[in-house]
């Protein structure tokens, strides 16, 4: 039987849905914006992306734009959780952040100089190392707990929140700061384009005519603590992390295992942690990228586990695929939907194809259940699932 679930007492989020918990809560149930070619990166590819054009970040700073996005949302989360720097420093606080960009030195001018001359200016390297997001937060707030960057490709944010919830559940940390962040960058844009998985139009998760994903940028941060800690501090939980499961396909670097058993194992493990059954899950916020392979496999597994009455959706048409931030943002969206008592629709879906056994939500529906799930699938065969619980 599950122990008391770690609770979320602070949320920070920025994506093309909105900036901050309240803005995001309001916008999550409106029509999404349309992606457009990037104006902030120097990519020559005219792919439609979900870019935060209104978010300004200074150049040549530690951690770059990704850390700037993360800091922005961390501040939101700490305010909502009513945590001061002094209080943080007095507790056992861990930091777990998912990212794909901030853990690789993708600075093209720096590398061009290094390649040409065998040496390069120190500043970009210093900014890269000192801006490693989890360690930056640990230093900034004088924290004493673990500081980890999870780089599990597209499931990084989900795994970061899952790991942090395990720290709190195990008693290793009183409080954990967890989430994911990624900026739009020329490197993943070129890489995903090369893999032929980018759509030239707004993505259509689970649709008959889906032809790929749109990249995006964003950040999501949550403050996780034990229910006892929140009660002691007089803070009401927003929602809880009831369960986490993760499993490897052990199959291929980019292709998911065709039988979907890795995702199935992750989902079952999450439900086991939460001490619940499939029938307890009100809806699933699926990974749903809009690519042919991901969507058909994911929908088939959800159908197998939850049956023909499964209620599921994808929010990728609202944010794009924000890579390391995706799992964190979608966990937050799932919690907001559960708290608001409504979910859907799955934007971008119009026609049910033969390889999708049951359609995602085509309209907004009321949600009365106590639990919902967010799933992530990633390069390298990583499959992860988080279960959100509504308080009370």
């Amino acid at each position: 039987m599950a122990q008391s679930s770690p609770v979320i007492t602070g949320v920070g989020c920025i994506s093309c849905v909105g900036d901050g918990y309240h803005d995001t809560s309001a916008s999550l149930f409106r029509q999404p914006i349309c992606p457009a070619p990037s104006i902030l990166t120097d990519s020559s590819l005219k792919l439609p992306v979900f870019e935060l054009t209104g978010f300004k970040s200074e150049k040549d700073q530690p951690g770059g734009r990704t850390l700037a996005l993360l800091r922005h949302t961390l501040n939101q989360a700490l305010v909502q959780a009513a945590l001061s720097p002094q209080e943080l420093a007095s507790l056992r606080v861990g930091v777990c952040i998912g990212t794909t960009i901030a853990c690789q030195l993708n600075n093209i001018p720096f590398y061009a100089e290094l390649r040409a001359s065998g040496t390069a200016p120190a500043k970009p390297l210093i900014n890269f190392i000192s801006g490693s997001p989890a360690e930056w937060i640990r230093r900034e707030y004088s924290l004493s707990g673990p500081a980890l960057i999870v780089s599990n490709a597209c499931s990084s944010g989900t795994d970061a929140i899952g790991i942090a919830s395990m720290w709190v559940r195990s008693g290793l940390c009183d409080i954990a700061i967890a989430g994911g962040a990624d900026e739009l960058n020329k490197v993943p844009m070129a890489g995903f384009h090369a893999l032929s998985v980018c759509s030239k139009s707004p993505c259509r998760p689970f649709d008959r005519d889906r032809d790929g994903l749109n990249l995006g940028e964003g950040s999501g941060v949550v403050i996780i603590e034990s229910a006892e800690s929140a009660k002691k501090r007089g803070i009401s939980p927003i929602f809880s992390v009831a369960g986490y499961g993760t499993a490897s396909d052990g199959f291929h670097i980019t292709k998911p295992r065709p039988d979907g058993s890795g995702l199935e194992q992750a989902v079952n493990c999450a439900m086991q942690t939460a001490g619940i059954q499939a029938s307890d899950i009100a809806f699933v916020n699926a990974h749903g990228t809009g690519t042919g392979t991901n969507d058909s496999l994911e929908a088939s597994v959800l159908f197998r586990i939850f049956g023909s009455s499964v209620k599921y959706l994808s929010t990728k048409r609202m944010t794009g695929h924000t890579l390391g931030a995706a799992g964190a943002l979608e966990f937050i969206f799932t919690g907001i939907m559960l708290s608001e008592g409504k979910a859907g629709p799955s934007h971008g879906f119009e026609n049910l194809p033969d390889d999708i056994p049951v359609a995602p939500l085509t309209s907004q529906i009321p949600i009365n259940g106590k639990f919902a799930m967010s799933t992530s699938l990633a390069f390298g065969g990583c499959n992860s699932a988080l279960i959100v619980e509504r308080p009370g």
Binding site: L114, R115, A122, V150, N152, H193, G245
Partner: protein
């Protein structure tokens, strides 16, 4: 948790016997791994497309599993955690080469997919048929200790019975250039190699020793990166140190080694 198998590869070669030898080196001149050693791993596990970093990771991973008595068979209830500061940065830069040298729409997809941090974990999982949690971690401070601690959390949670924990670093243009770009923080070239520990929730395999993690306050005393111990002033120092401690425990049942958080690169941000 218990250490049931150990594997390693370094400039001294494949195998834990070379770890002992490396400890005696006050200064290692050639810090990169012999490519023939990596080629043998790539051929054996059909890693045709895999990069050098993946081969480095695989070399210690398969050895740790074999050391514990698991040879090329499915390992149920096992997870993988890989900890690295720079990860596959040779391949990351190979992809930047493509972007610099070719039009942006003509770069190679295979190079991109192998440039992500968790590509190596994917190969280990598929080669050894490991289906549990697979987590790739990066960091520059307490990365090895934090990974050890996380292994303990996973094992205690009951979500898996074993964790294959691997610390790995690759030498390439960036890591080789660190001493010239940031001489105060990196007084000598980094070591190239990997250390793998097969950790289990109950004693099994070689059962070297039990292992416990102790987190020291963040402002505690830090080790001297200019130590005469060649393995101590490096990102891989913590991993080598743990493996050596386990090997020295002499496979005596009932022994426990204690690992403290060591903040190997804590001096870095003090200097910048």
């Amino acid at each position: 948790m218990f250490i049931s198998g150990i594997g390693s590869i370094s400039a001294r070669g494949i195998g834990t016997a070379n770890l002992e030898a490396m400890k005696q080196d006050s200064e290692i001149q050639d810090r990169s791994i012999n490519k023939d050693a990596l080629l043998s791993v790539k051929n054996r596990y059909d890693l045709r497309r895999a990069d050098r970093y993946t081969a480095i990771v695989m070399a210690s991973a398969v050895q740790a599993c074999a050391d514990a008595g698991f040879t090329d068979c499915a390992m149920a209830d096992t997870g993988i955690i890989i900890a690295s500061a720079f990860g596959p940065h040779r391949t990351t830069f190979a992809f930047l080469n493509d972007i610099l040298d070719y039009p942006e729409d003509q770069v190679l997809p295979t190079t991109f997919s192998h440039s992500v941090h968790n590509a190596a974990a994917s190969y280990v999982a598929s080669s050894l048929q490991i289906r549990g949690p697979t987590i790739s971690l990066t960091g520059f401070e307490d990365i090895w200790f934090d990974a050890l601690e996380l292994s303990d959390v996973f094992l205690n949670s009951g979500c898996c019975q074993r964790i294959l924990l691997i610390g790995a670093e690759e030498l390439a243009i960036l890591t080789q250039s660190l001493p010239s770009i940031l001489p105060d923080s990196f007084p000598c070239k980094l070591l190239e190699g990997s250390v793998a520990l097969l950790l289990s929730s109950t004693p099994e395999g070689k059962n070297y020793t039990a292992i416990s993690c102790h987190r020291k306050p963040a402002c505690g005393e830090k080790p001297d990166r200019h130590s005469s111990d060649a393995a101590a002033n490096d990102f891989l120092g913590g991993a080598f140190h743990t493996a050596l401690k386990a090997l020295a425990s002499g496979n005596q049942a009932g022994t426990t080694i204690s690992i403290d958080s060591i903040s190997g690169l804590i001096t870095f941000y003090k200097t910048v």
